[in-house]
């Protein structure tokens, strides 16, 4: 140990090394003189040789060369004739040669030893470094199980440093090892075969449990005596946990009655749970690894398979209804949910399919549909006969009221005073008004009852037609019409006509007091599938507060004296537009005109 330290210190500094050689020669010289004094002869050469030996041992090649040279000089100067001079006589030359040769041999022994030691040390370091590269835990213990080596992997994994454990404890104590078999059996196997493998449970420094795959090797010395045990441990905790999880999950998956199966990216079945077995009628053994689900169940998809697969790859999931044929040949409808599983490199690995039987549900839905359709038919027919009654039976008495009132007026007006005449007139007017209401109500109900015949309708042409017709009623009025380009839309022409007539006649009516009346009809692109038409006027407008009442049946926002009308116009417009799948809205301000927006689906 001390030798090692001295060597290391000298290695550090060349000055020290060369100084060492000089000093050792000097000491040898001094010792020679001292010995001579005590009467011992010829001690110089051995002493100098010793100095050279020491120097080459501790200080290396360079200093030993210096030591040899300086020894020769010293010997020549102090101990050979002529003394105190550096001359060398011919007889002594052989002597010097032998001396130098001998010194060189001694030095080279030393050098070889140094080299061997260095390479040993390097080998040891390399081995240590390699052992420290791995993340696996490697340790060595002697035959009493005391730890003699503890690599970096073990330090990191278990949480104790080498300094804390080497030479202090046995691994079994430290890690509180749980063995899969009795320890004596394990040791016996180790001694017999020289190795042992198995799973161990260790407790780490932080108290956490770890499962490791452990491999032991028995090292023997040259006499084949057991010397040490090399233990290599690989952390299996995660894999064990996921193995347990998978087993638990598999058991859970077998509890449910829903069908769950897994298929690989070629759609071959890799897992088939008990629910699938019971529902479809094939056992897992019959189907796993043998065919694709699509083949087996003759699946009918709601969309092309490539679209479905594309969505699955893109979003990682797909949901939809599938039709399957079971083992007994019967058809089943299932609500299917697919999940795509990816590995650590995000590559698609497997598809998990989860199926819910909805065959009964679908059947019920279908019959419910039929029932509801029948009910609707019946309701419609009732409405028809009701409307027919109204139109026929209510009108007749009304007509009589009007007719006889007029006859009364005719026959008795000379007999009646002003008031009576006014009363009769009121009766007449009310009856006529009732007639209008009935007509409007019938027209309104007709919109709901009639079949729509949808075609392409050129709105611009329709609007121009209607505007031309109103020309008759608006003779003498000053109306500035502004009709923008209007698109073609998809709908029932006659119904749309009614809507347009209502909107335009409203605009005409409510701008009666304006000179000029400005009525603009145009179009705004409603985006994607809709087209938005607007009818704008500069007429009486309305208070936005009451905008919800605008579209009510027989709802009015103005007095009858101000503007005539039953209040059914906008209700009809709304109904018609709604039947076309569109919407109506209005905006306006009192005395500042109104704009009605209608959105309709594009052609």
């Amino acid at each position: 140990m001390a030798n090692l330290n001295l060597e290391r210190r000298l290695d550090g500094s060349p000055f020290l090394r060369y100084g060492f050689s000089v000093v050792s020669v000097a000491i040898a010289l001094g010792a020679s003189f001292a010995v001579r004094h005590y009467g011992l002869r010829y001690a110089e050469l051995p002493l100098l040789t010793l100095a050279i030996a020491f120097t080459s041992w501790y200080a290396g090649v360079g200093p030993s060369v210096l030591a040899v040279l300086s020894s020769c000089l010293v010997f020549d100067y102090f101990f050979t004739d002529p003394i105190f001079s550096l001359d060398i006589s011919r007889e002594d030359l052989a002597y010097y040669f032998i001396f130098v040769a001998w010194a060189v041999i001694v030095a080279s022994f030393s050098a070889v030893r140094r080299r061997i030691e260095n390479s040993l040390r390097q080998a040891r370091d390399t081995r240590t470094n390699l052992l420290n590269l791995t993340h696996d835990s490697i340790f060595v213990r002697d035959m009493q199980n005391i730890i003699t080596y503890w690599n970096r992997g073990a330090e990191e994994f278990y949480g104790w440093t080498a300094a804390e454990v080497v030479g202090k404890l046995t691994t079994h104590q430290l890690l509180q090892t749980v063995f899969p078999a009795p320890l004596d059996e394990i040791d016996a196997e180790l001694l017999r075969t020289g190795r042992w493998e198995g799973e161990l449970v260790h407790i780490k420094a932080d108290g956490a449990q770890a499962v490791v795959a452990s491999r032991w090797s028995l090292q023997r010395d040259e006499q084949q005596r057991p010397q040490a045990i090399l233990e290599l441990n690989k952390d299996m905790t995660e894999r064990k946990r996921s193995e347990i999880d998978i087993r638990q999950q598999a058991n859970l998956l077998n509890l449910t009655h829903d069908s769950i199966f897994v298929r690989d990216m070629q759609n071959i079945i890799t897992y088939w749970n008990r629910g699938a077995q019971e529902f479809y009628g094939w056992t897992a053994a019959e189907v796993v690894g043998k065919m694709t689900t699509h083949q087996l169940l003759q699946t009918v998809f709601p969309a092309p398979v490539d679209e479905i697969d594309a969505e699955l790859l893109r979003t990682g999931r797909w949901e939809g209804e599938l039709v399957h044929i079971k083992a007994d040949g019967t058809q089943a409808v299932v609500a299917s949910r697919w999940s795509l599983q990816r590995d650590e490199q995000q590559r698609p690995e497997a598809v998990l399919e989860f199926n819910n039987d909805i065959t009964e549900l679908k059947r019920e839905q279908a019959s419910l549909h039929k029932k509801r359709a029948a009910e609707l038919e019946a309701a419609n027919r009732e409405l028809e006969s009701f409307a027919y009654s109204v139109s026929h039976d209510l009108r007749a008495p009304l007509r009589h009221m009007v007719g006889y009132s007029e006859l009364l007026q005719r026959h008795a007006s000379s007999l009646l005073d002003e008031k009576s005449r006014r009363f009769i007139q009121t009766i007449l007017d009310s009856a006529k008004r009732m007639g209008n209401l009935i007509d409007d109500l019938l027209a309104f109900s007709r919109i709901g009852r009639a079949e729509t015949r949808k075609t392409e309708v050129d709105l611009e042409q329709l609007v121009k037609e209607v505007v031309a017709e109103t020309g008759q009623d608006t003779k003498g009025r000053d109306i500035a019409w502004k009709i923008g380009a209007l698109p073609v839309c998809y709908g029932d022409r006659s119904m749309l006509r009614v809507a347009v007539v209502n909107l335009i006649s409203n605009a005409v009516k409510f701008t009666r007091m304006r000179r000029p009346a400005e009525i603009e009809i145009g179009c705004i692109d409603g985006g994607r599938n809709d087209v938005e038409i607007f009818v704008k006027d500069n007429g009486a407008g309305f208070d936005m507060q009451y905008q919800n009442k605008l579209f009510g049946v027989f709802q009015r926002l103005h007095l009858a004296e101000e503007f005539e009308g039953t209040g059914i116009g906008l209700a009809m417009v709304q109904r018609i537009i709604q039947r076309h799948g569109g919407t109506v809205r209005a905006e306006g301000a009192v005395d500042r005109g109104a704009t009605f927006h209608v959105s309709l689906p594009k052609a």
């Binding site: 409307a387 027919y388 139109s391 026929h392 039976d393 009108r395 007749a396 009304l398 007509r399 009589h400 009007v402 007719g403 006889y404 009132s405 007029e406 006859l407 009856a431 006529k432 007639g435 007509d439 019938l442 007709r446």
Partner: protein, 149 residues
């Protein structure tokens, strides 16, 4: 042109009868008006049956036909008339309260010459009746074999 054709008015409601007759009277068209109160009576008259068995067989110049009639309703009468060789040429004007599309369709399918909805407004009603009367009883030339006075 001044010869007045006979009008057969088939109408069950007495008030409507009175109003219609009054309207016709206003325009001096009421002289040759026969009133049948239901479909059966109308057919009896046209075929000279029942209470009309003694009538000379001559068709009216026009039939003003209401649709809602007791016993045999208007459309039935129409069907009968149009399938009877001797009656099918008689001009028929449906005069009814109903504005229902399906009544119109059925009437025209069965071969009416005109379909008039009785207006609620009396003036309009009178006007309509007058126009009808003037046209069918005076202006129009009824098929040969019809009564004319």
């Amino acid at each position: 042109m001044t010869r007045l054709g006979r009008i057969l008015l088939v109408e069950d409601d007495p008030r409507d009868v009175e109003l219609t007759l009054t309207a016709l009277e206003d325009h001096k068209l009421a002289n040759e008006v026969v009133v049948a109160r239901d479909g059966q009576q109308a057919l009896d008259y046209l075929r000279c049956r029942g209470e009309y068995s003694t009538r000379t067989r001559e068709n009216p110049a026009v039939l003003l036909l209401d649709l809602k009639l007791p016993k045999v309703d208007g459309l039935e009468v129409l069907k009968e008339i149009r399938s009877d060789e001797r009656l099918k040429l008689i001009p028929v004007v449906v005069l009814t309260s109903s504005q229902e599309e399906k009544d119109m369709v059925r009437s025209y399918t069965l071969g009416v010459n005109a379909y008039v909805v009785k207006p609620v407004d009396f003036h309009e009603f009178i006007n309509a009746v007058k126009e009808l009367g003037v046209f069918w009883a005076l202006i129009n030339e009824p098929p040969p074999g019809s009564m004319k006075k």
